[in-house]
């Protein structure tokens, strides 16, 4: 079911923090849901994946 976590990865879904992290974000990779085809998040280390 939770195949997004096969690698045992973790990710903190952040919020902006005045004066620290939130002020200086540089985007890494963005993923969109839904995509037109159903393999929405094909990257192996995706942060999210459609499961059903």
């Amino acid at each position: 079911m939770d195949d997004v976590n096969k690698l045992g990865a973790s990710l903190k879904w952040a919020l902006e923090d005045y004066g620290t992290l939130g002020e200086n974000w540089t985007i890494g990779e963005a993923e969109f849901f839904p995509r037109r085809l159903p393999n929405y998040f094909p990257r192996e280390r995706s942060m999210m994946r459609v499961v059903e």
Binding site: W25, I27, N39, M47
Partner: protein, 297 residues
């Protein structure tokens, strides 16, 4: 001779026709097993309906609602869908990474087949009316993906073509979630409804922001209430706002420095006054007898 000449002319024409290359559009390799309807869908579809590019750099992409019936095509990409995924269905369950290693979180997304791109002004009006920014952030329990999910659900229910967007942040083990709205006149507009927090006090401030999302570039936010009247959702809109923001920040820092210097000066003057008062504290009620005895009449 005439016969020979005629033969030469015919040969020359035939050779010319063979030497002129005939331009044909390159044909895509199509698996023979795919029915015509699927082939058509594949040829007219781009890999992502919401390309990760600056809004100003692309025209509004082809209008195709991924939840609409025409999107219900079998997956033809090499990776293939996750097991059990509904192809083109209305509802999806998505598994997310969480802050705990090995622990995933599931969320269900309800797509609206009738959702369609709207005008920029309509999207901004919708965002202004939305209450999806209300709520208290708590990691994993109700974090940025929940705020984005709520906004996505509201948008779909209201018929706005939209997408949930998750992105990583360079140099930090964190991700963030926003919602992309496809407009019919200004590309993709990104909304961020996650509150801001002041770590020192834990205070949270509900906010609605229009943001700039592009891989490898700075994440720029414009509070919805500060969107200029002539906002067109272009990259330069964000660059200009960021420039004004940095200028205001510089001025604020300068002001704060001056205020600090004045405060230090004030403190120093107070100390001098106290020292002066201490040094001139020659006459007190206790000193009266001594003063009286020293007076020569």
């Amino acid at each position: 001779m005439w016969i020979g000449l005629a033969v030469c002319v015919v040969l020359a024409v035939l050779l010319r026709e063979q030497s002129v290359p005939v331009a044909h559009p390159p044909s895509l390799p199509v698996p023979p097993s795919l029915p015509a309807a699927q082939i058509s869908a594949v040829e007219t579809s781009s890999p992502t309906p919401f390309p990760v590019v600056a809004p100003s750099l692309v025209a509004a992409p082809e209008v195709v609602n991924p939840f609409a019936p025409q999107a219900r095509t079998p997956n033809v990409a090499s990776a293939g869908p996750a097991a059990g995924a509904k192809v083109g269905g209305k509802d999806y369950t998505v598994s997310f990474l969480t802050s705990k290693a090995g622990v995933a979180q599931l969320m269900t997304f309800h797509g609206n087949p009738d959702a369609r791109p709207r005008l920029l002004a309509q999207v901004l009006g919708f965002l202004d009316r939305s209450s999806a920014h209300q709520g208290r952030y708590e990691i994993d329990t109700y974090d940025c993906k929940h705020f984005a999910h709520k906004l996505f659900e509201e948008a779909q229910a209201a018929g706005f073509d939209s997408a949930f967007v998750g992105f990583t942040i360079q140099n930090y083990p964190t991700g963030h979630a926003v919602v992309a709205f496809r407009t019919s006149d200004a590309g993709n507009l990104f909304g961020d409804f996650t509150p801001r927090v002041r770590t020192s006090t834990g205070e949270q401030f509900p906010t609605k922001k229009i943001v700039y999302v592009k891989d490898g570039e700075a994440y720029v936010r414009i509070p919805l209430e500060k969107i200029p009247a002539d906002f067109k959702n272009t990259a330069s809109d964000f660059v200009q706002f960021r420039g004004r923001q940095l200028q205001a920040q510089t001025e604020l820092e300068r002001y704060n420095l001056e205020a600090k210097n004045l405060q230090d000066l004030n403190e120093e003057l107070n100390n001098q006054i106290l020292a002066f008062n201490e040094s001139t504290k020659a006459f007190t009620p206790e000193d009266a007898p001594r003063f009286k005895s020293s007076v020569i009449i």
